[in-house]
């Protein structure tokens, strides 16, 4: 349910952006959910809707897409998808990463060379892809 705190962040960032750009209060917000963070899309969408309801005047529609995670080893250059390392995570570890995706460095290594020095190239967590006036 900490998805609520992230939904609040999205609503705040999107409306701030719209205000700053002089948009009318009808906007469409595209959100990317990075795979590593494992955000519960249902809870998140519900949170967005509830938070938006409480805003007076604003009409916001959301488009939510998922973004696959891509990891790349800084030592050997190997790139891999989350699915290859995820299965080795315990439920608890996955939950820790759910809260702080970067903590993945405590629980994952490069499948090729065992380095802990890898880059989260894509799909770390939440990001706003676009905010448009509609």
């Amino acid at each position: 349910m900490h998805e609520w705190s992230l939904a609040q962040a999205v609503v705040k960032a999107a409306t701030d952006f719209a205000n700053k750009n002089g948009f009318k209060k009808r906007i469409k917000v595209s959100v990317l959910l990075g795979e590593l963070q494992q955000i519960d899309k249902e809870i998140f969408t519900h949170a967005l809707e509830e938070i938006t309801k409480e805003l007076k005047d604003w009409h916001i529609t959301y488009e939510i897409k998922e973004e696959k995670a891509k990891l790349k080893c800084r030592t050997c250059g190997f790139e891999w998808n989350l699915s290859e390392t995820k299965k080795r995570l315990s439920e608890k570890q996955a939950e820790f990463i759910h809260f702080i995706p970067d903590i993945a460095h405590s629980y994952m290594q490069c499948p090729n060379c065992k380095s802990v020095d890898f880059e989260i190239k894509k799909g770390r967590g939440l990001s706003i892809a676009s905010v448009e006036e509609i």
């Binding site: 349910m1 900490h2 609520w4 705190s5 992230l6 609040q8 962040a9 999205v10 705040k12 960032a13 999107a14 701030d16 952006f17 949170a47 820790f96 809260f99 702080i100 995706p101 970067d102 903590i103 460095h105 405590s106 629980y107 802990v116 020095d117 880059e119 989260i120 770390r124 967590g125 939440l126 990001s127 706003i128 892809a129 676009s130 905010v131």
Partner: protein, 249 residues
């Protein structure tokens, strides 16, 4: 991609119930930032203040050991509620890494800090004490960026090794007009006004000295024992100066 980091925009909201945010900081490690952060938080809580403590030293988190707690995971609500320990709301990376190392590049350190600030629900606090890692790298730069009303509390030993590096930090903070409450001289072992004099020369308030207390180490992990140490007594004498907020503004 727009490149709006949604998390930044909510941090101010998350901290709006917090009156003062103090980063306990130094360029050098091992000068006593963590024992001072914890004891300060405890002493302020004893005086009836609402206090939060955030351990941001991801490579050697210490506060959970100093306080002697078994990490109980924060409650998940509409965010994470830091557990209350001895009257202090306590947040640390330790909940998430347990006994594992956290080999993080700067970008990961920044991300983890922003994530923690975005999801932690502190509610109302008089003080949020942030126990900083040594240096002026990502953690320091990120927290300066994220929290506009941050105040720094600096710590140095009387060694010139520690002082030279704190001097660098002071210069950096001054360049950017970031408020510094003052400096605590810790683990003082011999009579000398070296730190006091140098702090004054730089226009930094000298808050006082805490002597080296041979009894401190064995008191760690027990809040009762810590509060009875000489260390705690000396720190106690410094607290009134910390509370005179107007003095350094």
């Amino acid at each position: 991609m727009l490149g709006i980091d949604a998390r930044f925009s909510v941090i101010e909201d998350r901290l709006k119930g917090v009156k003062r945010i103090i980063a306990v900081s130094a360029c050098k490690g091992g000068v006593g930032k963590s024992v001072i952060s914890c004891s300060l938080a405890l002493k302020l809580a004893e005086r009836g203040y609402k206090v939060g403590l955030l351990d941001l030293d991801f490579f050697s988190p210490s506060d959970h050991m100093i306080l002697g707690i078994k990490p109980a995971f924060p409650q998940e609500e509409k965010g994470l509620l830091p557990p209350t320990i001895y009257g202090i709301k306590f947040m640390s990376i330790i909940y998430f890494i347990e006994d594992k190392p956290a080999p993080l590049r700067g970008i990961d350190v920044s991300n983890a800090i922003i994530e923690l600030l975005a999801i932690t629900i502190w509610k109302e606090l008089d003080f949020l004490i942030i126990d900083m890692p040594p240096g002026i790298g990502d953690a320091t730069l990120e927290i300066i960026r994220a929290i506009k009303r941050l105040e720094f509390l600096l710590v140095s030993t009387q060694s010139k090794l520690a002082w030279e590096s704190v001097e660098r930090m002071i210069k950096m903070l001054k360049q950017q007009s970031i408020p510094v409450i003052g400096i605590i001289e810790n683990m003082k072992q011999k009579d000398s006004d070296f730190i006091k004099r140098n702090a004054k020369d730089l226009g930094i308030r000298y808050l006082g000295a805490i002597k080296f207390d041979p009894g401190l180490e064995d008191s760690l992990s027990s809040v009762e024992k810590i509060s009875k140490t000489e260390f705690a007594k000396w720190l106690e004498e410094i607290i009134p100066k910390l509370l005179q907020q107007e003095k350094f503004k």
